[in-house]
Every structure is written in C-alpha cells, then in structure tokens.
C-alpha cells in the first residue's frame, strides 16, 4: 500500500528515486517483523543493566525493575484476554476478576490444604477457573445487554464477599494467603529468581496474544465479530449466538485463570484485591485506554496503566511532588485520580484508544501534505 501511494510523490528527479521503491518495499517487509524484534529485546532484557531513568527505578535487569515489568506484561496479557469479551464479542462483563482470582485462589488453596506440589495444583486450579467460567457464563449469558453486565457483576461480587469472609479459613480473609514456598518450583521463588518470573509473565503474554490472534481469525472468531456488530443478524443467518458467546466467555475465563496463576507466582500469594469489582473496572480502563478490539491496543493499555499506576505512586513520594503547593500535590499523589481523568479524556477525545493514535496522526499528516500538492497543481492548470 505504502509503496503505491508513496512513489508518485517523488516527482523531484534525484538519481536515487528509481531504486527508492524496492528499498521502501524491503523496509516495509522488515517493519512487519517488529513484534519479533520487540520480543527478542524483551527476552534478553534481564541480562541488560541499562539504566532507564524516569521510566524505571533501577537498571533494567535489577529485580525491582523486572518485577514491575513482569507485572506490566501480566496485565497487558490480562487486558488482551478481557478484550476477547469487550472488543471482539461486544460483551461488557463486570465479573472478569472472578476467574482471575479463581485461578490464583484455587491453586493456592490446593497447595496449602492438600500439600500437593505446584505442578499438580496449577492445572487443577486452572481447570477450576474454566469450570467456573463455564457454569457462571452459561447462566449469565441467558440475559443480554446491561442485564448480562449486572449478572456478571453480581457473581463476581458474591465471589468477592465469599473470599473476604474467609469460609473455613480457606481464603485468609482480608489479608489473603501467602503461597507455600516449599511447594513452588525452586527456580520461581526468591528475589534472585525474578528473571525467571519475568520470563513466565512474558511467556503468558505471548501465549495470550497468540491464542487471541488465532481465535479471532478462526470461523468462530468471525461469528464473534458478527455478534458484536449485530446479534440479531447472526441469528437470522441461522446461527445461535448463545454457544458462540459462551465459547468466548470460557476462553477469556481460561486465560484469566492462567493469569491468576502467574500472579500467584509473581506476588507469592493470593490477595482479596484481585476479586473486587474495582479490579475488573481497571481491566476495562486498560482495554479502552489502549484501544478495544485491536490486536495490540489492550496490551499497550494494560502495560501503560500498570506502569503508570506504580510509577505515579513512586512519584508522589518523591521530593519533586512533595514541594508543590497543595492544589497540585494532592491530585498528583493519587495515581487512580490521574488515571481516571486520563481515561475520561481518552474516551472523549480519542475514541478507539491509543491504538488509533498512529492512524490519526497519519491521516492528519496526509491531509496537510495532500493539501500542498493540490494547490501546486491548481497553479499549473
């Protein structure tokens, strides 16, 4: 595309002009591989001691930075999985946190209560999350529209209350429960193994991106898109939306449960904050911030949101902010306030999220550059 539209612009006859088109085609072909380059960079990141002042607290390979990066990658993946519902199928679920917490809590409880090693309890925990998504999804999807949102919210809230009430001492109530370090794989415990945890989170992100990419291109994925655009029309075509919506719900639930597992490893325990409706709302914010229904948008949104949430918290504690007058200091010390405001601004000013930003800029540039030659031609004729 770019070569076709690009060549006629080059009317000023420099000798390099004829060979310009193949070069541009080559760069375009190379540019298509940027995800692979980014992936390689991310894989080798723990070996680097590159300082990124402002972006990270310590050098890139330090445990603190890796922990933050791993959390960012985890939430990037979670937002991508959540977008399977919101952006791909058009289902506004307010209960996604439940399946995330289910994966974390089920695995942790099995390890703590049955004393089974992580390798055994992890698959059981994920299966529990999938089963929960299957049962509750099949019930919630019986209602549509805002009713569906409310039912998922109700189920998630029920889960949140259960966890915080600590039935039988299984969930640890408000404090949550730490995972038993002796049952976890030894390479994933302790601060000296943060790089391994980082790779686990990166692996989870790659897996989620691959699964979502594959799923939305499958025949089922095309039906999801149809349901998002117009559910009635899909019905008229002779397809039952219910089964398709349920498959999206269960797949998203499975990815979330898997994410809960990564979170369990990353934080060394299960916390009740992951069950709250606020957690789901923050996923929603990430997805919309990045760009719902796009390939990279939710991931970018998740990474940026998590990073900003952490770094803005650090910023609030720093001297630069503490010296400001109260009118500026108070809002700046609240990451959630800033994120909420940015979110409202994005919803208003940038529909489609950050993923739409490059094409927006391009269209603005094209409009200005096309405006100039058009005037020139007018002068010729």
């Amino acid at each position: 595309m770019s070569t076709v539209t690009g060549t006629p612009d080059r009317t000023s006859g420099t000798p390099a002009a004829p060979s310009d088109a193949p070069v541009r085609a080559n760069t375009a072909r190379l540019l298509r591989w940027w995800p692979a380059v980014v992936l390689v960079l991310l894989i080798v990141a723990p070996y680097s001691a590159l300082p990124l002042p402002g972006l990270l607290d310590g050098p890139l390979g330090s445990p603190g930075s890796l922990q933050l990066l791993a959390t960012c990658l985890l939430f990037g993946a979670l937002a991508t999985g959540y977008d399977l519902l919101l952006g791909r199928t058009g289902l506004l679920s307010f209960g996604h946190a439940l399946y995330f917490a289910a994966g974390s809590y089920a695995t942790n409880t099995i390890m703590l209560e049955a004393g089974l090693p992580f390798a055994v309890s992890a698959p059981v925990g994920v299966c529990f999350g999938i089963a929960l998504a299957l049962v509750l999804g099949s019930v919630s999807l019986r209602v549509t529209g805002i009713g569906f949102s409310m039912v998922t919210l109700a189920f998630a809230q029920a889960g949140s209350i259960l966890v915080s009430r600590n039935p039988g001492g299984f969930t640890g109530g408000e404090e949550g429960r730490a995972a038993p370090a002796e049952l976890l794989p030894s390479g994933l415990v302790g601060i000296e193994h943060t790089a391994n945890l980082y790779w686990v989170a990166l692996g989870y992100l790659v897996l989620t991106l691959a699964v979502v990419h594959w799923a939305v291109r499958s025949p089922t994925g095309r039906v999801w898109e149809g349901i998002k655009e117009n559910e009635r029309r899909v019905e008229v075509l002779g397809l039952k939306p219910y089964g398709f919506k349920l498959s999206a719900f269960v797949l998203a639930g499975a990815l979330a449960a898997l994410g809960g597992l990564v979170h369990l490893l990353l934080t060394g325990g299960s916390t009740p904050q992951t069950t709250t409706s606020d957690f789901t709302l923050s996923l929603l914010v990430m997805v919309v911030l990045g760009g719902s229904g796009t390939r990279w948008g939710p991931m970018v949104g998740g990474i940026l949101y998590t990073w900003a949430d952490h770094r803005l918290g650090d910023l609030a504690g720093s001297g630069a902010v503490a010296d400001l007058p109260a009118v500026l200091r108070v809002p700046l010390s609240q990451p959630l306030f800033l994120l909420g405001v940015v979110f409202v601004a994005v919803v208003h000013l940038l529909p489609g999220g950050l993923a739409r930003l490059p094409s927006r800029i391009r269209s603005v540039l094209r409009a200005t550059s096309e405006g100039a030659p058009a005037q020139k031609e007018d002068r010729h004729s």
């Binding site: 506004l92 019930v139 919630s140 019986r142 209602v143 529209g145 805002i146 009713g147 949102s149 409310m150 039912v151 919210l153 109700a154 189920f155 809230q157 029920a158 209350i161 259960l162 915080s164 009430r165 409706s277 606020d278 709302l281 923050s282 929603l284 914010v285 919309v288 108070v330 809002p331 010390s333 609240q334 990451p335 959630l336 306030f337 994120l339 909420g340 405001v341 979110f343 409202v344 919803v347 208003h348 529909p351």
Partner: protein, 295 residues
C-alpha cells in the same frame, strides 16, 4: 421481639439509604440508558461536603441543631452541583455513544474517590452529628437509634416529592414519557436532553442527601463508602425495574430487610451474599425486573 424490632428498623434504615441512591440511578438509567457508575462518587461528595461543613469549616454550620441542617443542605447542594457538572461536561458530549457514556462515568467513579482520599486521607473520618440524633428511642421494647428514623423520614419525603414531581408537573411528565419512549417524545418536538440534566440533578441531590445522612448511619465517612453502596443500589434498581421510582422504593425495603435479617440469623456476610445472588436469580427468571419494565 426487641431484636426483631431493632433488625426491622435497621433494615428499613438501610433500605432508605439504598432508596436515596437507587431512585436517581433508576431514573437516569430509565431515561438515558446510562448506568451511572459515578453515582457512588456523588454520594461520597455529599457525605464529605456535609462532614466538611459540620466540622466547623462553613460559617454557621456545625454538628448540632440548625447548624447541622445547614451542613446537610450544603452537602446536598454540592452533590447536586457535582451531578449537573458531570452531566454537562462528561456525559452530554458523548450523547451519540451510549457505551462510552457508561465508560466515562466509570472513569469519574474511579477518579473522585481517589481525589477524596488524596485530600482527606483514605482512613474513615468520624462524622459529627447532633446529640439529638445520636441517641436511641424505645419502640416495642427495643432501643432503636434515632438516625434510622431520620433516614426513613428522608427517604419517605424524597419518595413523595419525586412522585409529586413526576405525576403533577410538566417536567415530570416529560421525564416519564422519556422513560417510556424517548424517540417518540423527541418526535413530538420536545428536547429530551433538557430533561437529562434535570434527572442528573435530582439523582445527584438524592444521592448526596443519602451520603449526608449515611454519615449519621455509619458514624463515619470514607472515600470507598459510595462505591460499596453502589453495588447494592444496582441490585435495588434491577429488582425494582429500571426507571421505576416506586419499584425502587419497594425493592430497597425488601433488599434492606433481607440483608439485615440474613446477616443476623445466619453467618455474617451471608446477607450481602444473599442479596447479590438474589439479583442474579431475579434477572435470570425475570429479565425485566419486578415491575416489568425492560431491563
């Protein structure tokens, strides 16, 4: 018997609080199809406004007597102003994009509690109230706190005022007609959008009053209060049928009582659980809510 009376009065007081939040939420949803996630924030603004004024920051207002009435009026006014501001600046520009309207209110619902905890700290603040309202009175052998009665009275007044407004005034007629069929009202040449601001103002006023009096009920204010009450208000709105004020009144009484009794007679927390499960069950059995309006 005295336990029964106390539980009933507490349940009714809680129900009154739910009604104050849910009535506005229900009208807003009925008219505009916007599920206002910032409604809990409006309640918090009302609560903090009242607390701020009653703590002696507003001249003339204070924790006792006429000063407290002034403080409640101030908190309610601030909440109403915030609701109007919310509608005009956040919701109105997104008029053609209903889903984004909901998302924008989600953003506001996140930002406002964060701002409140930034200004006054995230810990609960003791709510100053008049001596007369902090005592108890005897009813059928039970010692019932007076603040329950205040909440119930406020809810009844709001219910009657809303009924009168909706039934007897021209603006109320437009709101009712808009809830039934917005497109038809627009087709008749009436600008429904003017009613949007009005409905937001009414909803914000009721929620802020709920926040001000909720401070009495809980004895303290904290930034997360509004958001946690919002979920139960959703339950009330759905149970009562979205857009129906009378439905919301009946539903809030039922929900408040069920929650109190279940929490007392079974394990603590089971009442909250029962209520959210009730929401799910009800939506599945009757997707249109109790009074039959489209959910």
């Amino acid at each position: 018997m005295s336990t029964l009376v106390l539980l009933t009065m507490t349940g009714l007081g809680l129900g009154a609080l739910y009604f104050l939040i849910a009535s506005g939420l229900s009208l807003i949803f009925g008219l505009m199809d916007v599920l206002n996630f910032a409604h809990g924030a409006l309640l918090s603004i009302g609560a903090y406004g009242t607390w701020w004024a009653a703590s002696g920051n507003l001249p003339g207002a204070g924790p006792g007597g006429a000063g407290f009435v002034l403080a409640v009026l101030f908190g309610t006014a601030v909440g109403t102003a915030a609701a109007v501001l919310l509608e005009l600046t956040v919701v109105r520009p997104l008029y053609t994009r209903p889903r984004e309207q909901v998302l924008a209110t989600v953003g506001v619902g996140l930002a406002v509690p964060a701002l409140l905890s930034g200004i006054w700290g995230s810990d609960a603040r003791t709510f100053p109230g008049p001596e007369a309202l902090s005592g108890t009175f005897s009813l059928l052998g039970a010692e019932v706190p007076v603040n329950r009665l205040v909440l119930i009275a406020a809810a009844v007044v709001v219910l009657i005022a809303l009924r009168l407004f909706l039934g007897r005034t021209r603006h109320g007629l437009v709101v009712r007609a808009g809830v039934e069929d917005r497109a038809m009202v627009t087709a008749l040449g009436i600008d429904v959008r003017k009613a949007f601001t009005l409905v937001f103002a009414i909803g914000g006023c009721a929620a802020a009053l709920g926040g001000a009096l909720g401070g009495l009920y809980f004895g303290s204010v904290d930034p997360r209060q509004g958001t946690s009450l919002l979920i139960f208000a959703f339950v009330v709105v759905v149970t009562g049928g979205m857009g129906s004020v009378t439905g919301a009144a009946v539903a809030s009484v039922v929900i408040g009582l069920v929650q109190q009794f279940a929490n007392y007679y079974t394990a603590a927390g089971l009442g909250d659980l029962a209520v959210v499960v009730l929401l799910a069950a009800l939506l599945l059995v009757r997707p249109r809510g109790l009074t039959g309006r489209l959910a």
